[in-house]
């Protein structure tokens, strides 16, 4: 999560007391503030950016309410009035004031309504998932120039960060055009043609094996995770989606391949910009699209039609060269792969010979175009539009179109087709038009206090799948049944058990637990063991940890402390859990780099009966043991107690320290003599204005100092003088902390803190708003209703979805 989230706008405009329709503060409150506060917090002085003379008393609205809550906190802590103030309230006056505030808050809570999410546009993830579902593309992505979402605060599902600037609109139009190009291509696409010989056919440079006298290329490879032995056209990138005709001058050296079937070539397509051409790529990045048999005997030209998307290329392989299982796969190092391949090369087994390759196209539209349209060029009449276009629009708009909308759409497309004289133009236009409509780009745009059925279906599916509602959800919405409590619960359970909920895991942990930042953090790698395997391990171990709590419906206290965690082999090496052989990270990395199959983390049991573990590993239960979390709260070079403290407060305590006020005096603190970070931060405790927030932040950060910038364990700081780390500190309420375990204990003993925090995060993400006063009341009720054994994670999610916070617009 971003470091300091909320910037409270501190200048208020509405005058308090005597405006019609405005609530006026009770006399007792006003007396107190006039006597003890106004002299510094008036129009003239505005100390700390606070003006009490104009602070509205509307306690049902978030901004003024937050201000009054802060006033409550500072007065009750004795922070205000400050020591140098002339007048101080005695205990009775103070308590009366605080009691007055509390009762006013309670009254406001009765009145405040939950809700307040404005219409929000699909963010990048949601947009991509949705179009992949509607159009069935596997590998479509937004162009590089498409602007990022800009969530300055909070989740990327919150509309404050989802502007629709002209640049975004242009991006949407460009992508819509891209989709239309693939789905309903325009006539006269740009063409490609090539004519290659054995000398010019591209191949995995070190493994283009030739027959005697270089007469032909020998297929000696297989295509699994090693991508060994593929051949390709080095210049081919499809200029348009469609079918490309590939002619190959080839022959097999025997009738049948190792699997007992005739020898054959297989074609695999992929996007070459995703990885550099000569390196290897994860197998899931490529798609098998076509195959052709290769007859034995004399070389002859065989032909294969290969569907390729615009911007993609293909490789070809001989899939049945050897029996499955005889090829090197998985976690091998270069030496091992080389030796196997040497063996293969020298084996006198039959294979395919290739002497030439010609590529041309597109010669036809892609098969899916004909599947969808039935015929190409497509039909363009009312019937065709009604049966094909309206359902597509309805999917895109996430609701059936009204009769008026349908008529207008059909008329417009027919007219466009007539004007351009070719039906392809009309369909191309139709797709772009639908995908640029605000009905597609925005969801939950309505004038209701509680979401309508269709809007609720959208909110639910985008929460748990980051994608559009499916047929079952839409049918329930059509029947008016989705909002019924039992149905909503059942649907939540269904969506959670569907594999599409992996998107919830990915994007919620991406933001709540900082995984997106882990993907991008720059770690100073001459100080730390760091490479892509470590990074991948950090990201995936956080996801798998979260996933286990979710899938097994574990108690949410598991997030605080657990008897398991996850680690991949790179992490095990760093944590010194690997066996002696090949222990160094470099060795592990080398092995993995060769296969380029990044290792998934495995579960590590932390219970005392499990394998012998280093003690710092055994103490890695819960979120605070996840190295990803610990890494993003540093700068890649050094840990930062401030960042860590703020992060823990934000994401586990649900507390957001406000930014420093304007009139922080010009302190010129000389920190050049400080020898360690604890001393550097001492300044925070010495200055009152800093202390107010840093008394919450610093102790937590200091207690985590045994974790370095990549979450590794250290007993002392690097440097000439080995200063042993002192991880002890004191919270404002007097609790002594010493290390991560003490923070966990604190949260376990005061479990409502984390319950409140997690519930709030889920609702912010799912409902897409910072919770309003009315929302918070609902959350507090749910927190108070926590069962004695504690909430379980799925149950908490269900409770959240069934609550008024989620259901209110």
């Amino acid at each position: 999560m971003a470091v300091i989230k909320r910037y409270l706008p501190l200048l208020c405009i509405i005058v308090v007391s005597s405006v019609d329709g405005e609530d006026a503060a009770p006399a007792a409150i006003l007396e107190f503030t006039e006597r003890y506060c106004i002299s510094c917090h008036d129009a003239e002085k505005q100390k700390g950016d606070l003006r009490l003379d104009t602070l509205p008393w509307t306690l049902t609205e978030t901004e003024p309410r937050d201000q009054w809550e802060l006033i409550n906190e500072y007065i009750s802590h004795g922070d205000m009035p400050p020591e140098e103030a002339k007048r101080h309230p005695d205990t009775a006056a103070r308590d009366a004031f605080l009691a007055g505030l509390e009762s006013a808050f309670a009254q406001a809570d009765e009145l405040a309504k939950p809700g307040g999410t404005p219409a929000r546009r699909l963010n990048r993830v949601e947009y991509l998932n949705t179009i992949r579902e509607i159009f069935g593309f596997r590998m479509i992505d937004l162009p590089l120039s498409f602007p990022e979402d800009a969530p300055a605060t909070g989740f990327d599902t919150m509309p404050e960060g989802l502007f629709l600037s002209p640049a975004v609109m242009e991006g949407y139009h460009d992508v819509a055009t891209e989709i239309a190009d693939r789905f309903a291509p325009l006539p006269n696409p740009p063409k490609y043609a090539s004519n290659l010989t054995t000398g010019t056919i591209g191949g995995d440079a070190s493994r283009r094996w030739f027959g005697p006298d270089n007469e032909y290329l020998k297929f000696s490879g297989f295509n699994h995770s090693g991508w060994v032995g593929g051949l390709w056209d080095p210049l081919f990138v499809a200029p348009a989606s469609g079918v490309y005709r590939v002619r190959l001058l080839a022959n097999a050296q025997a009738e049948l391949g190792a699997d007992g079937r005739p020898f054959r070539f297989s074609f695999y397509t992929f996007d070459p910009t995703e990885e550099q051409l000569m390196k290897r790529y994860r197998v899931e990045r490529a798609t098998f699209v076509a195959e052709v048999e290769v007859p034995a005997g004399e070389p002859c030209w065989i032909e294969c039609d290969v569907p390729v998307e615009k911007g993609e290329t293909f490789h070809l392989y001989c899939d049945n060269r050897l029996l499955p299982g005889q090829y090197p796969m998985g976690d091998l190092n270069r030496a091992e792969i080389n030796s196997v391949l040497k063996e293969i090369k020298e084996r006198p087994e039959p294979t395919i010979e290739l002497r030439g390759m010609k590529v041309e196209g597109p010669v036809d539209v892609a098969p899916r175009v004909k599947d969808f349209f039935g015929t190409w060029p497509p039909k363009l009449d009312r019937a065709a539009l009604e049966t094909k276009l309206l359902p597509m629009a309805s999917q895109a708009f996430r609701r059936p179109l009204t009769d008026t909308e349908s008529e207008k759409l059909i008329a417009s497309i027919l007219e466009h087709g007539a004007r351009m004289e070719k039906p392809e133009f009309a369909w191309h236009y139709a797709i772009r038009r639908i995908l640029c409509s605000p009905e597609f780009l925005y969801r939950e745009a309505e004038n209701t206090s509680f979401l309508s059925e269709y809007a609720l279906a959208s909110r639910l599916s985008y929460f748990l799948w980051s994608s559009m509602p499916d047929t079952e959800l839409l049918e329930l919405a059509a029947a008016g049944k989705l909002s019924d409590s039992d149905t909503l619960v059942a649907q939540t359970e269904r969506l959670l058990s569907d594999s599409k909920s992996g998107q919830f895991v990915k994007h919620f942990t991406g933001q709540w637990l900082g995984n997106r930042d882990v993907e991008a953090v720059n770690v100073c790698d001459n100080r730390y063991d760091w490479d892509d395997n470590v990074r991948y391990g950090f990201v995936r171990s956080t996801e798998r940890f979260f996933e286990e709590v979710l899938r097994d419906n574990l108690p949410i206290s598991t997030f605080i402390d657990s008897d398991f965690t996850y680690a991949n082999s790179a992490m095990r090496v760093i944590w010194e859990m690997e066996p002696k052989v090949d222990k160094t990270l470099a060795a592990v990395a080398t092995r993995q780099r060769q296969s380029l199959v990044w290792p998934e983390p495995d579960r590590v049991s932390l219970s005392t009966t499990a394998e012998k573990l280093p003690s710092h590993v055994r103490n890695r239960g819960g979120i605070l043991g996840l190295p990803g979390v610990l890494t993003v709260t540093g700068d890649g070079v050094e840990s930062s107690p401030i960042l860590r403290g703020v992060w823990v407060l934000d994401n586990l305590f649900g507390k957001h320290p406000p930014p420093p006020p304007k009139d922080v005096p010009a302190i010129d603190i000389d920190t050049s003599q400080a020898t360690n970070v604890r001393e550097t931060l001492k300044a925070h405790t010495e200055v009152e204005t800093c202390a107010k927030c840093h008394r919450d932040i610093d102790p937590i950060g200091l207690a985590l100092e045994n974790y370095d910038a990549t979450g590794g364990w250290r007993e002392s700081y690097l440097g000439e003088s080995k200063v042993t780390i002192d991880a002890s500190s004191t919270l404002p309420d007097g609790t002594q902390l010493d290390g991560a375990a003490s923070i966990k204990n604190y949260l376990l003993e005061n479990r409502e803190i984390f319950t409140h925090c997690l519930l709030t995060k889920l609702l912010e993400y799912g409902a897409g708003r910072t919770l309003s006063v009315g929302d918070r009341r609902v959350v507090e009720e749910l927190v108070a209703a926590e069962p004695t054994e504690g909430y379980r994670f799925q149950d908490l999610i269900i409770a959240a979805i069934n609550s008024d916070v989620f259901r209110a617009k």
Binding site: P118, S145, A150, Y442, C524, V637, P659
Partner: protein, 418 residues
């Protein structure tokens, strides 16, 4: 992390070159040259003791001395927006908006007029990914404009990328406009059915659609005009990386491409955001030992300051190279491009180490001003200005705008600079 290839020298240094200005083909010597504005802001401030030219050994001025453009700049101290300190980073985007929150930035104010005759009205750039806080350009609705972060995208915008299928482009641009017209209808009808708050969101949509319609119309008009050809010595590197560690390499390309764009008159209004980077940067072939953000919190420790100044010197080296290239190119009025290009460099993070917003580092360069090396503003100084926007008023007037106010200005700096 693998070391990426060092950036290659891309720029033709040397003799004065004639400008390639297709929009002014056939211009005579007496023709008035177009005015250009380049606004550059950093999110991590500048180290002021080495920034202000009042210090004769200011390290950040050295690149300009080396490039022979030292006489075409003025640093200005004592100005700021008089805004609250607040969260150290949150308001750093207000450098060119004058601390009037969510209002238009200087470059966007001038863009419609200055950029009327070029292919692109204005371009917003960023040296790599821009992930925290907003960039320095905001449109008239106060919405931050997402910058181009990839030099290859900027290159394609200027030189047309791959050979375009003109007929197809034409169809897309024309049908695009009628399509946007239709979906505006969708939005208008939707606005009747939604709450007020939603209606405001849809206003955003409608404004954007109208803007894109105008852009498409403009691109349709420009479709018939040829793109410029890049200079023969200019090579874009094969790899492109927008990760923060490669910020300087990315930034170098942005400076060079901006100079090219001005030479080709593809665009006359630019902004460049130099973003906050938490991680360590690659500098001169080595990965630095501390993150950029970390270094900006130097606490006056000598070693950290030196490292920070090294990074900032790299930024200034790009600026100096840019200025030199423009100075060496003739403009249509017989002078040179630099004299007609105003360059503003600064930061609203006045002191990154302490997160303070008092006394911005500001530099005005090029533009044909009466440069004075350094101007000190404030009480007891020759120039009693307090507000940074006073400087922007002077710039606006020099660019041909008849206004004596901008955002939070109280006066102007004409006496000093014009």
């Amino acid at each position: 992390m693998k070391a990426h290839p060092i950036h290659r020298r891309r720029f033709l240094q040397g003799a004065i070159a004639l400008p390639l200005l297709p929009s002014l083909m056939g211009a005579t010597q007496s023709k008035k040259a177009p005015k250009r504005l380049v606004c550059v802001g950093t999110q991590l401030g500048w180290y002021k003791p080495d920034f202000f030219a009042s210090n004769p050994s200011a390290r950040l001025i050295q690149p300009f001395i080396n490039a022979g453009v030292r006489d075409y700049l003025t640093t200005i101290s004592g100005l700021d927006h008089k805004g609250p300190t607040g969260n150290g980073h949150a308001l750093v985007y207000t450098l060119f908006t004058g601390q009037v929150l969510h209002s238009i930035s200087l470059d966007q104010l001038v863009a419609p007029k200055l950029g009327a005759d070029t292919r692109y009205e204005s371009l917003q750039l960023c040296a790599g990914e821009q992930r925290f806080n907003a960039p320095v350009s905001l449109n008239k609705n106060g919405i931050p404009l997402p910058p181009i972060i990839r030099p290859s995208v900027l290159f394609a915008k200027m030189f047309g990328g791959k050979a375009a299928d003109l007929e197809r482009q034409q169809y897309l641009l024309e049908s695009g406009r009628s399509l946007l017209d239709e979906v505006s209808g969708d939005a208008a009808s939707l606005q009747n059915r939604v709450s007020n708050e939603d209606g405001e969101k849809l206003d955003e949509y409608l404004t954007s659609v109208r803007d894109v319609e105008k852009k498409l119309a403009r691109r349709r008009d420009w479709l018939d005009k040829p793109f410029a050809k890049p200079e023969p010595g200019f090579i874009m590197p094969a790899e492109e990386n927008v990760a923060h560690s490669m910020m300087i390499q990315n930034e170098d390309l942005m400076w060079d491409l901006m100079a090219l764009a001005i030479k080709n008159d593809a665009c006359r209004v630019f902004s460049l955001t130099i973003p906050l980077a938490d991680g360590a940067l690659m500098l001169n072939g080595n990965l630095m030992g501390a993150g950029y953000h970390n270094l900006s919190h130097h606490g006056n420790k000598r070693a950290k300051v030196d490292d920070l100044v090294a990074i900032e010197t790299a930024h200034m080296a790009g600026a100096a190279r840019f200025m030199k290239a423009l100075r060496q190119t003739q403009d249509v009025d017989g002078s040179n491009l630099l004299d007609n290009t105003t360059l503003l460099i600064g930061s609203a993070m006045a002191d990154a180490s302490k997160h303070r917003r008092v006394d911005f580092p500001l530099m005005l360069a090029g533009g044909g001003y009466q440069h004075k090396q350094h101007i000190s503003c404030g009480e007891n100084e020759a120039y009693q200005n307090e507000m940074a926007c006073d400087l922007f008023v002077t710039v606006l007037q020099h660019l041909g705008f008849e206004q004596d106010r901008f955002a939070t200005s109280q006066s102007n700096l004409n006496a000093a600079l014009l």
